[in-house]
Symmetry: C2
Subunit: 152 residues, 2 copies
Amino acid sequence: MLKETTIDHALRATWQAVAKMYNEQAAKHGSTMATAFVLLNIDYENGTPSTALGPQMGMEPTSLSRILKNMEDDKLIYREKNPVDGRSVLIKLTDFGKEKRKISRQSVIAFNEKIRMELSDEKLNHFFEVTDKINQLIAEREIFNEIKRKAV
Amino acid sequence: MLKETTIDHALRATWQAVAKMYNEQAAKHGSTMATAFVLLNIDYENGTPSTALGPQMGMEPTSLSRILKNMEDDKLIYREKNPVDGRSVLIKLTDFGKEKRKISRQSVIAFNEKIRMELSDEKLNHFFEVTDKINQLIAEREIFNEIKRKAV
């Protein structure tokens, strides 16, 4: 019973459902959610430094470089020396990558529009307030410190 | 800019933050979030059929059986022939597993109580309404069918 009503369970189950849906949608275009997600995180015109992508996406360097390698093989992206900082590398979209990015963006917009159509602004704002508060409390390490203080 | 305000981004980022926090908390007890999650999904007294666990947890059979194997090695669980159905196996908690399950449950309760303390019931109810609606629309395959219908 506990797990049905907890906040973490709602987050986990809902994110898993969204991820599964996005993966199925990506598969229709011969892609994956991870690839689509990387495409969306690369600046359309100027590309994005490879070192910025991982932190920006909350992704482990090893998983990210595996995906980037595949995306390079698929000619969705290419690497270019950063004109501003010679030691770093820019990940840039090919024309094909730009096309695919547009399709991914359409799917994200379609999903968000559909959900927004079905729910009031008030409910959605409260949803964002709740997720913001959770992120804030976790970032401030408030959750389990609180218990320690109580236990002392 | 898009990704900062999308519903999927809020879900993904928040679930990742919660998972990271739970993993750090589990590590303090020499465990992982996945193990804690399995412990919480096993019926305390009667155990749970191994075939029911995967669907209940939304977990792939291969990942689940790897975790169950480790948990058996760690003496957190044991397998017993199902008295009701001889072909299926029950996963049951050892006394040590029951102890660890209580600790996991405390962490889940602490997290949920902390969040509930910081947010009004109205906001939380709207949060759950939004996640329920997302799950419902995905389950009914409403999201991308809608686009197809519009496009025709």
